[in-house]
């Protein structure tokens, strides 16, 4: 089992959700996150008031899947999240040792 984690632009979330549904993903977790990569923070000015934006808002998407689904999911996210501009985000995949569905007690791939 794998955990696919993607950090994407907020406005691509709907597309990513749709794309994941398209490849048969039934469950995912999202969270609002902030950070920076090559796209650093910047300064904004409103009516003369300057303020520094150190961290750029992003959305983190997490999907648990079986090993053989991983590539399809990664591809789907990459395609849907891509705008071609800086700050499109990253995707990474880690191995998952165990998954438990709390309600039923099912474990492993059954719990996905």
């Amino acid at each position: 089992m794998k955990l696919v984690v993607a950090v994407v632009k907020p406005h691509r979330l709907d597309e990513v959700k749709e794309a994941l549904r398209g490849v048969g993903v039934n469950g995912l977790t999202t969270s609002d996150v902030e950070g920076f990569g090559r796209q650093r923070g910047h300064t904004e000015v409103y009516r003369g008031a300057e303020y520094q934006v150190d961290f750029v808002p992003k959305v983190k998407v997490e999907v648990l899947c079986e090993d053989d689904e991983t590539q399809g999911i990664v591809d789907a996210i990459a395609k849907a999240a891509r705008t071609g501009k800086i700050g499109d985000g990253k995707i990474w995949v880690t191995s998952v040792e165990q998954v438990v569905r709390i309600r039923t007690g099912e474990m492993g791939p059954d719990a996905l």
Partner: protein
């Protein structure tokens, strides 16, 4: 654990009878009668157990707290006290065990204490909850004396200083409110401990006990109030019992998952615009609001007395003025004054005279105390008479992942937050200070906050409905046009910043222009920002996160810049629609769906920036779609004599503009201005103002030559740098050395880096500049060329290959060096 066989007969009988009681009524009909019956059954069992234990004298069994009042919900604790005279401590312990063990074994929740009257007094002195539990005490069995003694001691301390006791009760109620919130608006309320819940009902009983008689006799409670509290008590008891029966365990927190079943149990059914589950919660809120208001009034009447009751002019305006005066002084209106106000007859629908309106606006302007006053106006039924639309949102629960309060409470919360922002002299967010400074019409902002969700009446589309309702309400108030318009705008667009910022691409210039067009002016934008914060903060503790704030501020700043530069205004959207209509009617022979597709493909700046006749001329260049290397051009006479408007349409590719510039130079044409558009589907539409470099008249031959060269260059069959160099060789160099200057400005625009280049004019200078941009992968969107004698000064709006502004220092330095090297021309030797 005792088996059924070992279970004492009274306990077995009790369990049977409790089961029968539960079955005798459906889950939603276990109200106060059922709770009293449950207590009676437990009484009988306990008395029998006590007596069969054959106690000595000097021991009493007492029911405490809710059980003492004869009120047991299905999973209430059975609180017991054994009061003894300390003559036989061991005997008392054994007695307690004989009574308690069988009950525990049977699964009843029994709490107990074993104390002497002196211990009771000490504990009551120490703890308010022990004091109140004992005030509710009721002797069940045994020797009367120890309990009479204990009760006399406890009641004695309370009656000796009822005022201190009342203060303690009120403080405790405030602590409970802080801890458990309110039953009158929280979507998942705590029915027992929350403000307006069952515990608050008991406050009245305890105060009466402290005063030694019914509250009515002390002039503290009105008959109508008693009735309202009684009804609330019954309803909340039924709801609580239904909750216990549904979950099969104790707990008074009614969470979302349980609400549908409890709504069914209590007989709520779906109505148009009010689902059963919302009907349940609305009733809970309404009853709890009565409890809150009545207990508050009773305690205020008692503690503050009638001394500071104020004369109130018996009109709506007078009443509102009184409220505003108290709120401005930062005070809650005394119940005594409120009682006078309640006596003022009010029509069902109050007419908005100028006096009523001004008094109402005064009240809104009175900050958070003003909001408190509005809550009181709501409690006495006046708010709904002023704003009939309020009835539809009053006590209405809302179910989404963010909101946690009833709609009307959320509206008052947003108003309170807007007031706080307006009055905050040193806000943590510097943008708030700037936004507040931009507000000329705070009344409009406050009204917008008060009404922003007025359309949340049960079906989707609350924003549009809210705008319609607000228009009516604001119209009825007879407000000045700017105030009315600002408030209406805020209701109609209150989600604009938040939704756009979190869901859309803020690098998209068209998007920012659209938002700017909808907002129209800086004051509205500032008001919208303040309302966005106020709305989010009133929604829940988690709604205005740094994450959301960062996105909203980015949009705010960009929209502000667009409005500041006057690029778009309130009329842009209307102009766009007009434009589209004009273009449609100027192309009568084209299939309408083709034209619509065209309008969708073209960028906003194109549709708004070019005259309609230009667009209709260019339409055939864009429809149907071009082939890979195809180039389409079109030239007409320009506005000034000798100038020509040239449109070039080709598939967009890096460096296309430089190829065009090169081909124009080779054909003997000079570029005056260049505008570059790109359609949604990647077609470049480049519009140039050109003139002949050598002669005013531009013969067809030149246009043909230009097209031919461009096509060859695109197909890779002509080297433009070589050809331009060849052509230049035939002309003399300029006689004076012209310095090259390059200026890079990232402040002028949110979307583009503006690069100004000054250099000596010569054949193909624009070709050289745009070629350099192309080499450094910069995309030109707009170019303005000015020629001053031997010198050209060109301004370019560029973005990098990622579509962003150029802020990489290294790249900028390289660009400057490359431009200088390419444009610097040594002067003619010998001059």
């Amino acid at each position: 654990m005792a088996t059924t066989a070992e279970r004492p007969a009274p306990v077995s009988r009790l369990l049977e009878e409790l089961g029968a009681l539960e079955r005798a009524y459906s889950a939603g009909h276990h109200g106060r009668w059922s709770a009293a019956r449950r207590a009676e059954l437990v009484d009988a069992c306990l008395i029998e157990l006590f007596e069969s234990a054959d106690p000595h004298g000097g021991v009493a069994l007492v029911a405490l707290g809710g059980y003492g009042r004869g009120r047991l919900s299905p999973w209430s604790d059975v609180d017991l006290l054994i009061v003894h005279d300390a003559a036989d401590p061991d005997g008392v312990s054994a007695l307690a065990e004989r009574i308690l063990y069988p009950l525990w074994d049977a699964g009843l929740r029994v709490g107990h204490g074993v104390r002497t009257p002196e211990e009771c007094e000490a504990l009551a002195a120490e703890r308010l909850d022990a004091r109140t539990a004992m005030l509710d005490g009721r002797a069940l069995a045994g020797d009367a004396l120890p309990w009479t003694d204990a009760m006399a001691r406890v009641a004695g301390t309370v009656r000796a200083d009822p005022r201190a006791f009342a203060e303690a009760l009120r403080e405790d109620a405030e602590r409970r409110r802080d801890r458990h919130g309110s039953v009158s608006w929280l979507l998942e309320p705590e029915l027992k401990e929350g403000a307006g819940g069952l515990r608050d009902v008991q406050l009245l009983g305890w105060l009466a006990a402290a005063l030694g008689g019914p509250l009515e006799e002390h002039g503290l409670l009105r008959a109508a109030e008693r009735e309202a509290v009684d009804e609330a008590d019954e309803f909340l008891e039924r709801t609580r019992s239904a909750l216990h029966l549904a979950t099969g365990r104790p707990g008074d927190h009614i969470v979302l998952e349980q609400q549908p079943q409890i709504a069914r149990d209590l007989g709520f059914v779906d109505e148009p615009d009010l689902r059963a589950v919302d009907g349940l919660m609305r009733s809970v809120f309404e009853h709890a609001r009565h409890v809150e208001h009545v207990t508050r009034s009773v305690f205020d009447r008692y503690l503050r007395g009638a001394a500071d009751a104020l004369e109130v002019e018996p009109t709506t305006e007078g009443v509102l003025r009184a409220f505003a005066a108290f709120a401005r002084a930062g005070e809650v209106m005394p119940a005594a004054t409120l009682d006078r106000i309640a006596a003022v007859p009010q029509p069902d629908e109050i007419e908005w005279t100028p006096g009523v309106r001004d008094a109402f606006l005064d009240l809104l302007a009175a900050g958070t105390e003003g909001v408190r006053a509005l809550e009181t106006l709501d409690a006495i039924g006046l708010l709904a008479r002023l704003l009939p639309a309020w009835r539809a949102v009053r006590c209405r629960p809302q179910r989404d992942p963010y909101h946690r309060s009833a709609v009307d409470v959320h509206l008052l919360g947003a108003l309170g937050n807007v007031s706080r922002l307006l009055d905050d002299s040193s806000p943590a967010d510097p943008l708030v200070a700037e936004a507040v400074a931009a507000i000329r019409d705070p009344d409009g902002l406050r009204l917008g906050a008060l009404l922003h969700d007025i359309g949340k009446t049960g079906s989707p589309g609350h924003v549009a409905r809210g705008a319609a309702v607000a228009t009516k309400v604001l119209g009825a108030m007879g407000l000045p046009e700017p105030t009315r318009e600002l408030a209406r705008f805020l209701v109609a667009e209150h989600l604009l910043l938040s939704d756009t910022a979190t869901r859309r691409d803020l690098e998209d210039q068209d998007l920012v222009h659209d938002v700017a067009a909808r907002v129209g002016d800086p004051e509205r934008l500032a008001a919208l920002y303040l309302l966005t914060i106020a709305d989010a903060e009133a929604t829940g503790p988690l709604a205005w996160t740094p994450w959301r704030a960062t996105l909203v501020r980015e949009l705010l700043a960009k929209v502000e810049h667009v409005l500041e530069r006057g690029e778009v205004g309130a009329d842009t959207a209307a102009r766009l629609t007009q434009r589209a209509d004009a273009i449609r009617s100027a192309l009568p022979s084209q299939p309408p769906e083709e034209v619509d597709r065209f309008l969708l493909r073209m960028p906003r700046s194109y549709l708004l920036g070019l005259p309609v006749e230009r667009i209709t001329e260019q339409y055939p260049l864009l429809t149907p779609r071009l082939a890979a290397h195809e180039v389409r051009t079109h030239a007409v006479a320009g506005r000034r004599p000798g100038t020509h408007l040239l449109t070039v349409v080709a598939e967009d590719r890096p460096g296309l503009l430089s190829l065009i510039a090169g081909a124009l130079a080779l054909a003997g044409l000079s570029i005056l201005t260049a505008q570059v558009f790109t359609t949604d589907d990647g077609v470049a539409v480049d519009v140039f103002e050109v003139e002949g470099a050598f002669e005013e008249e531009v013969a067809d031959r030149r246009w043909r030559e230009f097209r031919g060269t461009l096509r060859k260059a695109i197909e890779g069959r002509a080297s433009l740098p070589y050809r331009v160099e060849q052509k230049r060789a035939h002309y003399p160099r300029p006689r004076h050395r012209v310095p090259v200057h390059v200026e890079v400005d990232n402040e002028a625009s949110d979307f583009f880096t503006v690069i100004e280049v000054g250099a000596a004019d010569r054949i193909g200078v624009l070709f050289d500049i745009t070629r350099t941009f192309a080499e450094l992968r910069l995309d030109v969107h707009l170019a303005k060329v000015a020629t001053f004698g031997a010198r050209v000064v060109d301004a370019f709006y560029v973005r990098d290959d990622l579509g962003l502004k150029v802020d990489d220092e290294e790249r900028i330095a390289e660009l400057e060096r490359a431009l200088r090297a390419r444009l610097e021309i040594p002067a003619e030797p010998g001059t």
